[in-house]
C-alpha cells in the first residue's frame, strides 16, 4: 500500500541537528527553543503565537464563548486521507461548530516519545498548519513534553478550542422535538474503515480514505441562514449509533432511522461485510448530524449541498415521541429494530 506519509506535499524539513526527538527537546533549554522555533513557529506562526508568551493574549470577542477540548491518539499516525495532525485540528473545530460557534483559537499540546522521527513530526506540524488555515482558526498557544522511550506511543496531541456562538442559535439536545428530521452531510464509516484497512492490510481498487475535514464554511453558511437548528453532533468514535443514542438519552425523544437512506460507499460496505462490522458504529471525522424542524430541511439541504463537505447531504431519519429515548432503525426489509449503544470496540468476527 502507498505510504500515506507521502500523500502530503511538504516543504523540506527545517535543518535540525538530530533526526529523532531526544529527552532534551522537552527540557526547556536551547533544544526546546530550537524545536519550537524551527518546527512549530515556522509551521504554524501567527501574530499571537509569535509573541512567544506563556499564554495567548486574545482580542475581545463578540458574544457568548464556546470552549472545548479533545485529545488524539491514533494508530497508525498516518492513514489514507490524513494523519493525527489533521484529526487534532478538525476534531476540535467540528466540536466548536457543534456548539453553534464560529471556531477562532486553538491551543496545541504535544507529548512526544523519545526517539520519534523529527521528519514525521514535521509532516504532522505542516498538516496541523494546513488544517488550521482551512478551518479559519489560529494556533495561539502550545506546549511540548517529551517522555522516555516506551512510555508513550510516538505522539499524543491535545487541542482545546475557543469560538463565539452564532447569534440566534440555541443548540441543545433537549430541544430535539417530535417531527424534526435528522440530516447527515455524507457517507458514513469512512474514517474507521480507513484506519482498519491500514491496520489489517485490506486493499481496495478505490481505497477508503478518512473523511477528516473541518466543516467551518458549510456550517457558518447554515448558521447564517438557519437559526432553527435544534441539535448538532459529530458522530466520531462509536459512530452514528452512539451519537444518536446520546441525543435520545438527553432529550427523551426517540429517533427512527431509515436503513435504505443511510449513505455508505462501496468500499466501506465491502469491508464491513467482510469483517462483520455494522457501519452505524464506525467512526467518522468529517461528518455532522443536523437535527432541525422538517419545514427547514429543504433549505438546509440546499445550503449544505452547495459545499464540497456537504455534497452527499441527505435526510436519514426522524425524531419521534414513541418509543421514548430509543433509537430505532427501519430495515431494508421493512421491519424495525432497536439500535443500541455499543459496548467497547467492534472487533472482526468469524460468526
Amino acid at each position: 500500500m502507498k505510504d500515506p506519509r507521502k500523500f502530503n506535499l511538504q516543504c523540506p524539513i527545517p535543518k535540525t541537528e538530530y533526526a529523532h526527538i531526544l529527552m532534551a527537546h522537552g527540557g526547556g533549554g536551547r533544544m526546546t527553543c530550537h524545536l519550537i522555533q524551527e518546527l512549530f513557529i515556522a509551521g504554524l506562526g501567527n501574530e499571537i503565537l509569535d509573541m512567544g508568551h506563556d499564554g495567548a493574549f486574545l482580542p475581545p470577542m463578540d458574544g457568548e464563548v464556546a470552549f472545548t477540548t479533545d485529545s488524539f491518539v491514533v494508530d497508525p499516525l498516518f492513514f489514507p486521507g490524513g494523519n493525527i495532525g489533521d484529526l487534532a485540528i478538525n476534531g476540535t473545530v467540528n466540536d466548536l461548530l457543534c456548539c453553534g460557534a464560529l471556531p477562532l483559537y486553538i491551543s496545541l499540546g504535544l507529548i512526544l516519545e523519545e526517539g520519534f522521527l523529527i521528519e514525521e513530526l514535521w509532516i504532522i506540524v505542516q498538516s496541523i498548519g494546513r488544517a488550521a488555515e482551512a478551518a479559519g482558526v489560529k494556533i495561539v498557544t502550545g506546549d511540548t513534553k517529551v517522555v522516555e522511550k516506551g512510555k508513550g506511543d510516538k505522539i499524543y496531541i491535545n487541542t482545546s478550542g475557543i469560538g463565539t456562538i452564532h447569534p440566534g442559535l440555541n443548540i441543545n439536545p433537549k430541544h430535539c422535538s417530535k417531527g424534526d428530521v435528522v440530516i447527515i452531510n455524507g457517507d458514513i464509516g469512512d474514517h474507521g474503515i480507513a484506519i482498519m484497512s491500514a491496520r489489517q492490510g485490506l486493499e481496495a481498487d478505490i481505497p477508503v480514505i478518512s473523511d477528516t475535514q473541518s466543516l467551518t464554511d458549510m456550517m457558518m453558511s447554515l448558521f447564517r441562514n438557519q437559526t432553527g437548528i435544534h441539535v448538532l453532533r459529530d458522530p466520531t468514535r462509536g459512530g452514528l449509533a452512539s451519537a444518536l443514542n446520546e441525543i435520545c438519552d438527553s432529550s427523551g425523544t426517540g429517533i427512527r432511522l431509515h436503513e435504505k437512506n443511510l449513505p455508505i460507499n462501496d468500499g466501506v460496505r465491502g469491508a464491513c461485510e467482510l469483517m462483520g462490522f455494522d457501519p452505524l458504529y464506525i467512526a467518522n471525522e468529517g461528518k455532522i448530524l443536523v437535527i432541525l424542524p422538517e419545514s427547514e430541511a429543504e433549505e438546509a439541504l440546499s445550503i449544505m449541498r452547495s459545499f464540497k463537505a456537504g455534497k452527499g447531504s441527505r435526510i436519514i431519519g426522524q425524531v419521534t415521541s414513541d418509543p421514548k429515548g430509543i433509537l430505532c432503525l427501519e430495515t431494508t426489509i421493512g421491519t424495525t429494530r432497536i439500535v443500541d449503544m455499543i459496548s467497547g470496540e467492534q472487533l472482526p468476527r468469524i460468526c
Binding site: 486493499e203 481498487d205 478505490i206 465491502g270 467482510l274 462483520g276 468469524i350
Partner: protein, 79 residues
C-alpha cells in the same frame, strides 16, 4: 462458522501448489483468499469466503432460479 460472504475473483496466484491464492473483491474491498479447495474456478467467478479461505463456488444459475421463483411467488405457490 457463520460469517462467509460472496466475493468475485479478480486474479489468481497459483505459485504455491499447496496454497493457491486469489484476489477477491467484496464490494470495493479486496482481500487475498485461499482457493486451494475449489477445483474449477476462474477470474470472474463468485466464491464464498470465510476467514481467508474459499469454501465453495457460488452457483449463480441456481441463485437466479431461486430469486426468479420468489419474485413470482406473491399470489402463487413457491416450488
Amino acid at each position: 462458522m457463520c460469517l462467509a460472504i460472496p466475493g468475485q475473483i479478480i486474479s489468481i496466484d497459483d505459485s504455491n501448489p499447496e496454497m493457491k491464492m486469489a484476489k477477491v473483491r467484496f464490494g470495493e474491498a479486496i482481500r487475498e483468499i485461499c482457493i486451494q479447495w475449489l477445483n474449477d474456478v476462474s477470474i470472474g467467478d463468485y466464491i464464498m469466503a470465510h476467514v481467508g479461505t474459499a469454501l465453495s463456488k457460488v452457483d449463480e444459475e441456481d441463485a437466479k432460479f431461486t430469486l426468479d421463483a420468489l419474485r413470482e411467488m406473491g399470489e402463487s405457490d413457491y416450488l
